[in-house]
Symmetry: C2
Subunit: 352 residues, 2 copies
């Protein structure tokens, strides 16, 4: 049975403004090391699937840049959704394409913008999940063992005592908790971070979509990779209702299982996370580009080109892209999206 990787790359990532833009979302940025996160995501799964079996589902404005960053991918494997309709249509579309190309196959769905430190462990866990998916009618999700009471993630509760070869049955999905609830989750040991990574056979996910989202299933079922592909897709995406795979399928299906992952996973959600995950100098600063820091500590300073001087600051984020500058304390980096909202409201389109 063939294995396919589906990388979901439709996000905008406005919390990485001013570096992230509609045409340059965070997954296409080089924030760590030499590659973008999407290129890292592709390279990471090459031991599992050839480029021919890697699909990226994105949008029109990002397609060209993805082709540029990953020239090894066949052009027809980078699919541009006509408009964003959340994750269920995206996954349905990819499953339909795989099914029509190769019949029943294992489908591994990954977000494009996550960081994974321990690739070896990740591939081991992935193998465990694909084996399980190949042999069971199961929708598998990766649950990340929480390291601290994070209030920014959704959690998945496993069913005590349901373990089967290192795979657990899922009791339920829970929303982002408040800090006290998150502390309780951490203590209980039954709650894992929802990573948004899934493994299943296309026949299984398509059956579940048919059952829980029959209209979507019927719409997607007609697509065919011929000359009319994008025209048909446009019509379909125009009328379908946005729905997430979590809400539309995972929270309703009785076939949901979980593989606990412990491979140094991070959702790179803000400049604060980028700071945490960056290597620092002896002053605790993560500094890139044309910058000068004096008496500055525990700060993240990035300047593409323009000279940026930071004196006497502590725990501060300074990002200079030449056409825009951001200054904010590290613990306020979630608020960066308010700037993007302001720019959108005021039609300052050159900066979003």
């Amino acid at each position: 049975m063939q294995k396919y990787i589906v990388i979901m790359a439709g996000g905008v990532g406005s919390r990485f403004w001013p570096r992230s833009r509609k045409r340059m979302p965070k997954q296409l940025l080089n924030i760590f090391g030499k590659n973008s996160m999407i290129r890292d995501t592709v390279e990471r799964v090459l031991p599992v699937a050839d480029y021919e079996n890697i699909l990226i589902v994105t949008n029109k404005v990002q397609k060209a840049l993805i082709e540029e960053q990953i020239p090894e991918l066949p052009a027809e494997n980078i699919i541009a959704e006509p408009r964003g309709r959340n994750t269920a249509p995206c996954i349905n579309l990819a499953a339909e394409i795989i099914s029509k190309r190769s019949g029943d196959s294992v489908m591994i769905t990954l977000p494009a913008d996550h960081l994974i430190n321990d690739e070896k462990k990740f591939l081991e866990d992935l193998e465990k999940a694909t084996d399980f998916a190949e042999n069971n009618d199961a929708l598998l999700t990766f649950g990340i063992k929480p390291e601290y009471p994070n209030t920014g993630y959704g959690y998945i509760k496993i069913l005590s005592g349901s373990e089967n070869d290192g795979v657990w049955q899922v009791d339920r999905f829970v929303e982002k908790p408040d800090i006290e609830t998150a502390k309780g989750y951490l203590k209980s040991g039954d709650y894992l971070w929802n990573s948004g990574m899934f493994v299943w056979r296309v026949s299984v996910i398509l059956d579940e979509i048919k059952k829980h989202l029959p209209e979507l299933y019927n719409d997607m079922n007609i697509i065919c990779e011929d000359d009319r592909f994008y025209t048909t897709l446009s019509d379909i995406f125009e009328r379908i209702t946005p729905v997430s795979i979590d809400y539309g399928i995972m929270e309703k299906s009785d076939k949901v299982w979980l593989v606990p992952g412990d491979f140094g996973w991070s959702d790179v959600g803000s400049w604060e996370t980028a700071y945490q995950l960056s290597s620092k100098d002896i002053n605790g600063n993560a500094i890139h580009g044309n910058t000068l820091t004096i008496d500055t500590k525990n700060s993240y300073v990035h300047s593409d080109k323009v000279f940026t001087a930071v004196i006497g600051m502590n725990e501060t984020i300074v990002i200079n892209t030449g056409d825009a500058v951001l200054v904010c304390p590290r613990d306020k980096s979630q608020k960066v999206k308010e700037i993007v909202e302001y720019l959108e409201k005021n039609n300052i389109n050159g900066l979003i």
Copy 2:
């Protein structure tokens, strides 16, 4: 007797980087309101002297910009020193020119980069000083009544009981004090801030220069506003020793008097001072240009053109000139000159 204004405008003002540059020192910047400080300085004294009687002594790189900012000034009244030799040569040169143009005259010497809030009071005090200077062989200086124990200014101690028509004899000049000493000065009432503003007759200052700096006097005495003016000046400035008017004359002469000034004087010495003297919005922010501030308080944000977003900061200075950005806490703004030192050391001449 004619009255002349001499404006000393040779400074670089590196503490206003990145807005201040060698070609654009702080006195030429529009930091407050609609005019540069040098233009304000000129307009302020127009009730006392016509443009023909206003001289500006500057350097070669600033001359063109001063001509542009003050087109009403006769070109020959903007004198470019071949090189900076501190204030005594500058004053000697101006006194010599005035003396040769108009014979003995009252000469009012002002720095180009100070802020004066109460122009009416300033003009009243100036009139008092010019009257005294016209009728006495005196070197008058303006002493500013201290409002707080400033450690960044030099002080002038007056002689108790020496008052004569609101003018006091000077006991001595003292260097920038430490905070305890400054507190003592404030308490005693006999110490005033040294404003660097002087009033005298040219015959009196030239006699005192002849007495205390005879070599300088002899050198300057030969200058003449003919075709060879700048050639002669070059030769003279090449060989003369730099010396300040305070050290070279004021601290040695027995003709020094002081007019206490109380006209809202400020030496605009740093971005912190600029913040203090700016008008603020309800969040205590002084904001200029293409900026967005969210949850930001008591900060100074200036951006010439490039969009600059500041979130969640407090008491911070952010200056964006498009080719350079500065971020620093308000209480560290004295350190800005360290950036200029870095740029000079590394020959990054485009930014200094």
